[in-house]
Amino acid sequence: MMNYSDGDPEGPGDPEGPGDPEGPGAHGDPEPPDSDPDPAITVRALTTVRGGRTVLRGLDLTVPAGRVTGLLGPSGCGKTTLIRTIVGTQAQVTGTLTVLGRPAGHPSLRPRIGYVTQAPSVYDDLTVRQNLDYFAAVLLPGRTHRPARAAAVDGALTDVDLRDHADALAGRLSGGQRSRVSLAVALLGSPDLLVLDEPTVGLDPVLRRDLWDLFHRLAADRGTTLLVSSHVMDEAERCHRLLLMREGEILAEGSPDDLRRRSGTPTVEEAFLHLVDTAAARAAHEEPRP
């Protein structure tokens, strides 16, 4: 069952958390500082071209290990491209991208990263359990791993609260249930890094809260690093750390508190708008120059 983290319905609990004292951006430094000794993801000067269009322009960012990092920005700002680049499924990438100490897309990373695409990627004509069985067999092949596979499948079903639907065809499930099957697949190998592309889109509030609780449990109990994208700003408050993105660039990086403090606004949403306006004003100021 999905149990809610001890008496804190808000999920994240203390967003600052231990081990991340004050967050790096607290010094008012807009540059991503390298205070994190061993970040899970380090991106330097990353540029990605997709369909002839430059989608990511010289990105610099870090994602700390063992924390929940939110990647927020409006639809079409390049979140999915950044995620695909990190996972190693994106072509035409330049720059440096280190994931768990290896260059992104390195074969040794494949068993260590759980990736959930925006649209649920599961087989609609298989049951939930058959889906998980297959992906588990890809991660842990062979007869000797059979008990480990069964345990992983049961664990993942429990994590996403789908035990009751284990024998239902994935195609017959509701949208929210199907996206949870997709999430369960990503949880199978107990990955060190979990990359989730808009996992809570279209879900009801209760389910969204449950999933965020799960994300925080994974980070706290298993030390999993999570990178969660969303275009819904109120989810920002649930993250330890945020990457605010717009038009292929990172506008700001830091904890929700940092961002609010830096822009002097009560919510992350307003902080984001403030940052967008400042950026636009700066651009307008620079534009007239020949």
Partner: protein, 245 residues
């Protein structure tokens, strides 16, 4: 490539198929129904039924597996499961061999049914061993799987994938010697038919039809079909990219 992952993939493909009994029925029964129909279309000329029937035993598995594989892999591409699998520790060869294995198995069942019906119930006169008919049918099925896999890379929708069937299969069907012997065609067409794999599938079937033993021509035909299947499978593997734009 890991055998366990290949087998798991084949089992998964078959499990998907099991949830779709109507497709299984169509794959297995349509060839039988066509042969049955053909037998009575050529009621007055059993010799014609022998030639065309034997050729069709080679052509059916190719067409069926082509369609099934192109749609199945296209679904895999569009549903995001391919991207997910390629982001996981799965070899491309595991995926392709898994598909080939699963659909190869279906092709064996289909061919056994069709060959058995033709030889024992419809009086198809085969001088050679029916096992050789089965072998060619299986190679054809592999070729169909390979072509379907390759073509699915160029189809953006299931709509397009189905349209590739007439584009890829029909020219081969017209030139393979089913309607008229290849050496009676215009020389240019005969030359083209010499490089199309289905021609060898049909030639192979006709060798079994007419000769009691394994002839060198049969061996050559079988090798050409098998070689084409392997070549196209390799091309298909090249279309599976871990990194896409």
């Amino acid at each position: 490539m890991t055998p366990a992952r290949t087998l798991a993939t084949a089992a998964r493909v078959l499990r998907q198929l099991r949830h779709d009994p109507r497709s299984i029925a169509l794959m297995l029964l349509v060839p039988c129904a066509m042969l049955f129909l053909l037998r009575y279309v050529f009621d007055g000329s059993p010799g014609t039924f022998d030639t065309i029937g034997a050729s069709l035993l080679g052509i059916f598995p190719l067409i069926t597996m082509f369609l099934v594989t192109s749609i199945a892999t296209l679904r895999e591409r569009t549903s995001g499961t391919l991207e997910r699998l390629l982001a996981m520790p799965l070899g491309k060869a595991d995926l392709i061999a898994g598909y080939a294995l699963a659909f190869g198995l279906v092709a064996v069942v289909q061919s056994v049914l069709a060959t058995g019906l033709a030889v024992w119930f419809l009086g198809l006169d085969v001088v050679g061993s029916p096992w050789l008919l089965l072998l060619v049918a299986l190679l054809d099925a592999l070729l169909g799987t390979a072509l379907g896999l390759f073509v699915s890379a160029f189809a953006a929708s299931e709509f397009q994938a189905v349209q590739f069937m007439p584009a890829v299969i029909f020219p081969q069907l017209l030139l393979c010697g089913l309607f008229t012997p290849r050496d009676k065609m215009a020389p240019a067409l005969e030359a083209i038919s010499n490089v199309l794999p289905m021609s060898y599938a049909v030639d192979g079937m006709n060798e079994v039809l007419r000769h009691p033993d394994v002839t060198t021509a049969f061996v050559r035909d079988a090798l050409v079909v098998a070689g084409c299947a392997v070549l196209v499978l390799a091309l298909g593997a090249a279309t599976l990219r871990r990194r896409t734009a």
